[in-house]
Structures are given as C-alpha cells and as structure tokens.
C-alpha cells in the first residue's frame, strides 16, 4: 500500500518537525542572567538576608525614629523603630513613602545650572563651589554679608545648627519658613504655662480629649506619637475608653474619629474655649494656681459663645458637663483654630481651659528640648522689600520651597526673581528651584548623617540619630556637607565656625558638645555607638534642666474672633485650608505612593479638590466633581468640588500641598495650590502667618473637573458592614 514516495514524504515531514522543534527550543531558551560579585563587601553585606538600620525620618518635623530594611545594599522598606519613644514601631504613610523620594525618577543626579532659557544643565560640584565661594567671598570681603539670605525649614538638630553658624559667621540673614508654624502655640505656652517651647500632651492617660481644630491623628505636630497614644486612649490597658470631642469647621481625620464633632464657626474657637474655662471656674473646677484669675472677666457666657460659634447651646452644655466630670481631661488647640488673626489669643484661651481643669503637670507637660523660632510675616515682608529694592545678592534655599508652600501674597516668588543669585539645595527642581540659578542636588535623608530633636520628647530629651542606610545613588551631597565645603573654601571666620570634614564628623562633634553642655558623665563613644544601634538617644535630663510649669500666671487675654481678609458681601465663604498627612505643605506631592493613596475622607487620588457642604452645593447647583472657580482677595483658582456633610455650609475647605509648578512628574500640575489664595494676614500678637483668615467667593464654571475618586457610594445602605445593628 505505502509507496516509497510516501515514505520520503513522511521523512520530510519529520525533518521539518524537528527543525521547528529546535527553533522553538531556541526561542524559549532562558535568558542568561549575570551575578555581579562585590568588590570589597561591607562587613554587614549578606545576599538574601535583610539588614535593618535605625535612623531618622525627615519627612516632617516630628522626627520619628524609623527602621529601614536594606537588602543587597538598597533600602527596601521603612518601618517604625520599635525602640523609639516617639514612633514606638509605628510609621505613617508619608514616612514609608519617603522611599519614593530616594528612588524618584525625577530626582536630581548632579548639581544643575540654569541655562538661561528656564531649563537646567548638569554641572560638576567643583564648578558649583567655585562660583558660589567666589560670589560669597566677594560679598564677605565687601562686608555685605547682610545681602545674603538663607531660607530654611523648621527642623531642629545639627543640620540646622550648621546652617545658622554658617549664616552667622557670614553675617547673613536666616529665615525659618513654614506655613503652619508653632509660634502661636509657643506664645500661648509661655503665657499660660510659663515655659519656653511646646507642651507635651499625654493623650493616652486622658479620659476626655477636647480638641479645638488640632488634627493630631492626621497632621498636627507628631501624628505617630499621638496615634499611638490614641490607640491606648480608646482601647487601653486600663480598660477605660476615653471620649473625644472635636471642635472645627471642617471634619478632619481626627474629627472623623471623634465621638462628637462640633462644627464651630471659623475664628470663634478661642471665645468658646474661654467661655468654657469661665464655666469651669464657676463650677469650682479651678485650683489654687488660677485663684488670681477671678471669673475671667474677659470671657463670654456659654450661651453667647455657643451663639457666636453657631453650635446648639445644648451640645455645648453637654460638653461642659463632660469637662466638669472628667478626671483627667485634656484640651488641645491647633490647626486653623490657632491660625486666625487672633490665633495666639485663641490658643492661650485653650491653654487657660487646660489650666483651669488642672491638666498642667498631668496630661499637659513641658516638652523637653527647644522649639524652632520661625520667621514672622513682617520678617518675610522685610526680605521681600529688600529684594524689591535690589539689596538681595544671594538667596540660599536650604531644602525649602517657599514659592509653593507659602502664599504668593507674601511676595517671596517676586523676591526670588529680583535676587541676583538664587541657589537651591534640593533633590528636585521644585517651584522655588525653578527660579534658581543653581540647584545643588542633595541626598535623600536615607543617604547621609544628621539628627533631630524629636517632638514631643516624652519626659526626656529625645535626640534621634540619622545615619546613611545605603551608599549614595547619585552624585549628591547633604545640605550640611555643602555648607561645610563652602565654609572650607571661604576660609576665615566661616571656616573657623565650621572646621569639620563632613556631615558625619559634624554630627558627632555636635553630640559631643551637647554631651558636655549637659554635663553628662560616662563614655561618650560608647553612648554614640549605642545611639547608632538604637537610632535614638533618650537622655534623662540632669537636675534643673527640665522646664517646669510656673505656679502662677496672669489670666489669659480676651479671645476676640478672628478677622478675615475680604468682605463678607463679595466673599461669602471662609476658606479653610487643611494639612493632610500625606501631602503636608507639599512635601508628599512628588511621591507616587502618596498620590495614589486615597484621601481618608474623600477617597480622592491624583489632584486636589474643594469640600462643599451639600446645602451649599444645592444652592449653587453643584454636583460631585463639578469645576468651580474660587476667588479670594489674594488670587483665584479653579478646582473640582467634593460634596460631603463634614464641612460647614459657610466654609470651603481645601487641602494644602497640591498644585506644584515643578517638583517632578508625579507632582507637576496636579491639583491647585490652596496657599496661593491666602492673603498676607498675620497674628496680631506674634505676627505668625494667619493662614486660616481668608474669605473666598465660589463660582460654578458649569463643567466637570478632573476628579479621580476610588470610593463609590459612601453610605452603608443599611448593610451590616460596620458591625451588627449597623450602628457604631
């Protein structure tokens, strides 16, 4: 049957098949991978095994201790440092996302020089230092050091120490800039508790916390420390569940977790606090230390205060009841409540209430360690006017972005334009750096040395050591390194002030200095090695070191309502800017993990929004995601609205930290910058920026905005999701 020809055909078929098979094999062959051996391994190098380094988180001023997991010489994961008194093993979203800053694709890889057409070209460190030292040298020689301005943030520790010594020796001006400063709270503490610095609030051991605008779970002061305390406050070992009342015009993260939320009219918190204080005195809650206060003549009646704050009297009285009955009550004040034109007075009133309730010494204790002294609005305006009159030769931006973070109305952007030479020390071309002539690429805080005085230092001076967890990714230097090298090149007084080789040497020297100044005995080297191990130095203070609460202080001043920029007729709404944990004042905007982290209250990702009360929305015919134009006396912007019941009808709330002009692909052009709406209002007492004292008008633009939300329908529809009974 089967002919020879057939056989040939079969064979041919087989041959073809084999060919195909070989080809397939060739195609799906595993790719060759190489295995790069180390040249000289660091002593703690071990492939496939995690190495943990304890260091300091620099994403916000709180100064949490963190533990970084390092694998094959690369930082992989950030956890809280369990042995650190502030973070106690906790880590916030921003802190963990700081890895995105370290590995950010838009991070500067070398010093950059402006090319004159708004762009930047890479340069070498030598070029940079040559030009800079030349300029500074010339100014110094001409005795025109005052024409140099150093702008930096509110952080503490040796890094800042280096900066201030540098500018001191140079005779330059140093401005510590931040939108939300601690100035008013420091003033209040000084007036009512009678000590320098910031109080430390013991939330854990309180049974009642009344917070006037302080979003201590979200963004206020030291969120991790307070969150840890809050955990115990709720379900603590003592088996007692604390009660939390939040008084603020827009529900913050803390407000959302509070047992009761009292939406007080903006700027009236102080009066309410004072009225409550008077009520407590009336109920005989006050102790000996406030005997000299009398009945607080300046205070309003509860009814009056409730009326002014637009809260039902019944609820205020109920609150007063709780306060009077509380064993270990604690009253907090901060955020917008302390950022009106009468912020300091308002916070004093809050402190007074604490004092009447006998909190000082108990739930309110002095925070050991100094607090930053920020530039006031007048200082900033002085800088602006100097620049305007062409008297600013050189501006050194040390890791701050005032052009974005601070209101345009302060005139910093214009000042930077007028300055002869602007040098930005930063890891990104942010809004301010884009106006600079030089951008000196700085390390991530995970690549260099430093330290910070953590706040709140609970009962001891908590200094956290910052050390590199991996070698530098790019050709960068830390701010301290840059300052030290500049000093060395400048020579003279400056070099004498800063004789150290690099950040490591300087940090160590600083610690030695503090060690001596505290008159502590023992082996410093041993102590420092321990600190490197634990990442923190928690020093019990020698006798008399600790600040104490003064036994008697004069009664607090009256707390009149805040004054707002813009007339009520043409600007019917009060703008309530708020700081979120992820973005803060702009630090988080270039971190993709933060951009993709849904906002706790609105579930918005990628971009900013304005929060509007349903009633208001109905009035203006606004729906979720509709675009509106918000106009204030200082400026205008357009942004989509989110409608939710957590905001007063007469208030428009906007998150800060969005709307960057630069700062990398993840931040650039996303959302609108609420700070640009703020008028240059300042506190009548301290001159601190009153960032919550601006009125705005709202105009529907009749189209939809770019609002991206991950959340669908935020009602349980009677489904038992939050527990049996649907109630909680």
């Amino acid at each position: 049957m089967v002919s020879r020809r057939d056989i040939f055909k079969y064979a041919a078929g087989g041959g073809v098949g084999v060919g195909v098979g070989l080809l397939l094999g060739e195609v799906n062959q595993r790719p060759l991978e190489t295995l790069l051996s180390t040249h000289i391994p660091p002593e703690d190098f071990s492939p496939g095994i995690d190495t943990w380094y304890n260091t300091l988180c620099r994403m916000c001023p709180a100064g949490c201790g963190i533990s970084v997991k390092v694998r094959e010489g690369r930082a992989k994961k950030i956890e809280g440092n369990a042995s650190h008194p502030v973070s106690r093993g906790g880590a916030c979203a921003l802190g963990q996302a700081s890895l995105n800053a370290l590995y950010n694709p838009d991070r500067l890889r070398s010093p950059m020089r402006a090319d004159g057409e708004g762009g930047f070209i890479p340069a070498s460190w030598d070029e940079a230092f040559d030009e800079l030292s030349a300029r500074l040298g010339a100014l110094q020689a001409a005795g025109m050091g005052r024409r140099v301005w150093v702008l930096t943030g509110g952080a503490l520790g040796s890094g800042e120490e280096a900066l201030s010594r540098f500018s001191e020796a140079l005779g330059a001006n140093l401005l510590r800039l931040a939108l939300d400063t601690t100035a008013n709270e420091q003033a209040a503490a000084k007036a009512i508790y009678g000590f320098e610095g910031l109080p430390h609030y013991d939330i854990a051991s309180a049974d009642l916390v009344v917070s006037f605008g302080a979003d201590f779970l979200g963004s206020w002061r030291s969120p991790i420390a307070y969150a840890k305390a809050y955990g115990e406050f709720r379900q603590g070992a003592n088996g007692r569940r604390g009660h939390l009342a939040q008084i603020e015009p827009r529900m913050s993260l803390t407000g959302a977790n509070a047992d009761e939320w009292l939406p007080a009219r903006p700027g009236t918190e102080g009066a309410l606090a004072l009225a409550l204080a008077a009520e407590m005195l009336r109920r005989g809650r006050g102790g000996e230390d406030v005997a000299n206060w009398g009945g607080l003549s300046g205070a309003m009646s509860l009814a009056g205060a409730a009326e002014q704050a637009d809260i039902p009297l019944a609820r205020v009285e109920a609150l007063a009841e709780r306060l009077a009955a509380a064993e270990t009550p604690l009253v907090l004040g901060g955020g917008a409540a302390g950022a009106g034109t009468r912020g300091a007075a308002a916070l004093s009133a809050v402190a007074a209430l604490n004092r009447v309730l006998g909190a000082p010494g108990g739930t309110v204790r002095p925070n050991l360690g100094h607090a930053a002294s920020y530039a006031s609005v007048p200082d900033i305006e002085a800088f602006a006017s100097q620049a305007a009159s062409g008297n600013v030769s050189l501006v050194l931006l040390a890791g701050v972005d005032p052009a974005h973070d601070l209101p345009d109305s302060l005139g910093i952007r214009r000042a930077l334009e007028r300055a002869e030479l602007v040098v930005s020390l930063d890891s990104f071309i942010n809004d301010s750096a884009s106006q600079a002539d030089w951008v000196l690429a700085t390390d991530s805080f995970l690549e260099t040395w430093g330290d910070d005085i953590s706040s709140p230092g609970a009962g001891s001076l908590t200094v956290t050591l910052q050390q590199p967890v991996q070698e530098r990714l790019f050709d960068t230097l830390s701010i301290t390194d840059i300052v030290l090298r500049l000093a060395a090149r400048l020579g003279g007084a400056v070099a004498q002030a800063l004789p150290h080789a690099d950040a490591q040497a300087f940090t160590r020297a600083e610690w030695a200095r503090v060690w001596q100044s505290l008159g502590l005995n023992g082996d410093f080297n041993e102590r420092f090695r321990l600190a490197q191990q634990n990442g923190v130095w928690d020093a019990p203070l020698a006798e008399g070191m600790a600040d104490t609460i003064s036994p008697e202080v004069p009664p607090p001043p009256a707390a009149p309502g805040s004054e707002f920029a813009g007339g009520e007729s043409e600007y019917p709404f009060v703008l309530h800017p708020f700081v979120t944990q992820g973005f803060r004042e702009g630090q988080g905007a270039n971190l993709p993990w933060i951009q993709e982290l849904p906002d706790p209250l609105t579930s918005v990702v990628y971009g900013s929004w304005a929060e509007v009360n349903p009633a208001t929305a109905e009035q203006l015919g606004l729906g979720m995601g509709d675009l509106v134009e918000i106009e204030s006396p200082a400026g205008k912007l357009s942004v989509p609205v989110v409608v939710h019941p957590g905001v007063r009808p007469d208030v428009i709330a906007m998150p800060l930290g969005h709307g960057h002009r630069g700062n990398g692909r993840y931040a650039k052009g996303r959302g609108a910058n609420a700070a640009s709406l703020l008028a240059a209002q300042s506190d009548s007492a301290t001159g601190a920026l009153a960032w919550a004292a601006t009125r705005v008008a709202l105009k529907a633009l009749g189209k939809r905005g770019r609002l991206t939300r991950t959340g669908g329908l935020s009602r349980t529809l009677g489904r038992q999701i939050l527990g049996p009974g649907g109630e909680h």
């Binding site: 963990q96 993709e596 706790p600 991950t710």
Partner: protein
Amino acid sequence: MSKITDTLRQYRADGYFAEFDYHWTMAIDLDQCTGCGACVVACQAENNLPIVGEKRMRQGREMKWLRVERYWEGDYPDARLSFIPILCQQCDKAPCEIACPVFATYHNQDGLNAQVYNRCIGTRTCAVYCPYEVRFFNWFTYTWDEPLEQQLNPDVTVREKGVMEKCTFCVQRINRAKDLARDEGRRVADGEVQPACAQSCPTDAIVFGDRNDTDSAVSRKMRDPRAYEVLKELNTAPSVVYLKNAREPLHAADGGGHHDGANAQAAEPRAAAAEPRMVEAESAVT
C-alpha cells in the same frame, strides 16, 4: 458513595483547620483604626504593588490589596464618618476557591487563601465571585520608572499582565518566620510574624496571629464581645475579624429611631439614587 457524601459533609465544617499547624487570623479593632492609610502604603511597599497612574485610576483599575473604606452616617451637622480597612478575608469557605478552573487559588494548610501567580490564566472568575472585591487583576504589565524598580521587594514576585493578585497576609514574611522557628525547632511565637499593614499601624488597631493558639493576642481579640465578621450572612467564614467601633450611636440623643436596619433601607436608597449619577459622570470624564 456514602464516603463521598461524608467527606463533602465535613468539608470545611467548623474546626476543619484546627488540625493544621497554624491558622493565621487577623483582628482589626475599628475603635482604634483612624483611617490614616499607613497600612495601605505599607502593603504597597512590601508587596511590589504597581504605580498604576492617574489614567488607570480613573478607569477604576487601582491596585490596593488593602483599602480603607469610608461610610457616612446622618447629615450635617449630625454627620459621622466611619472607616473600615478591607483586605482579603482569607475565607475558610472562600467563594473564589471553588471558582478557579486551574487551582491557581486554593486554601493551604495554614488557613491562607493562596494565590499562585504563575498558575493563573486570568479568567477573573475568582474576582467576580469574591464578595469583598479584594482581588486585583493585572490589566497590563506594569513597569516602574527607573530607578524606582530598585525598591522592589526581592521576596515577592512581580506579576505580569493577565494575572490575578491579592493579599496573602504577607506570606513571604510568614515563610521566613516559620523558617527561623524551624531552625530553633519551635513553633512560630505569637507576634513574631506581622504583615506589613499590622506592623506599620500607628494605633496598633491590627492584630495578627495564630488562631489555633488559644491565648494568642488575636484569639483574645476574637473573644471580645465587639468582634464580628463582615458579610457574615454569606457564610464565607472569614479569617479577618473586626471589632466594632465602640462610639455611642450617632442619634443616641433622639433615641436613634431612624437608624435601625429596616428604616435605614427605606431611607438610604435616596442617597444611593443621588450618587450613581456622580459615578457615571466620573467615568464619563475618562
């Protein structure tokens, strides 16, 4: 025949997992959870979750193995917000497990609801069957802008397009802990292993441990009277237990009348009617 019916009868009956060496369980105390989202980022960092970008977010294709859901109650000024973190519940009677035609998802001996990425063919049935919607699909092969890829966790596979992925209580950490315990010839101690979310939680709201060990922290939490399971009525026997928020009812003052289940159903759909338009419009923007 009777043999089969017997096996079927006792299949995943209560205590089915007691015989196994571990029964990993998580307890989340809603009274302590503040909804800050630290756990969400921790999860993203630990498990190599991709950065999907704004466009994909708008298309509803986010990749968050762990999300914090928010629910409003009441209206201004008596409004209240509640948070609840939702992650894979590692159900002992998981609807997803029966669905997968190729056993890419199954229940392992530690009570974990396993997901085997390299076995998945992407029918997405498991995700459809999952009532908690905690399974996420790789619609594309996601990439990291250089040098972001240097952060990737070497202990976790980077998933390719067409694969379903989800939380497995950070199984890479569990394996590591079991490995160490084995070196020392002991069981994994309570609190020795923690998923990324639990470790980062600033309020210690998340407790993780072995349910078979009756005096482990998680077992103690489970005995709390506030303990409940989400969507219990579906009989999925989740391994994530929630502790109800201990706040007093929103309307305790006026008797809380209009918030018991029945009326809530009557009342809420209006809210429901209001919002789909929003959802619609949003996706219309894309």
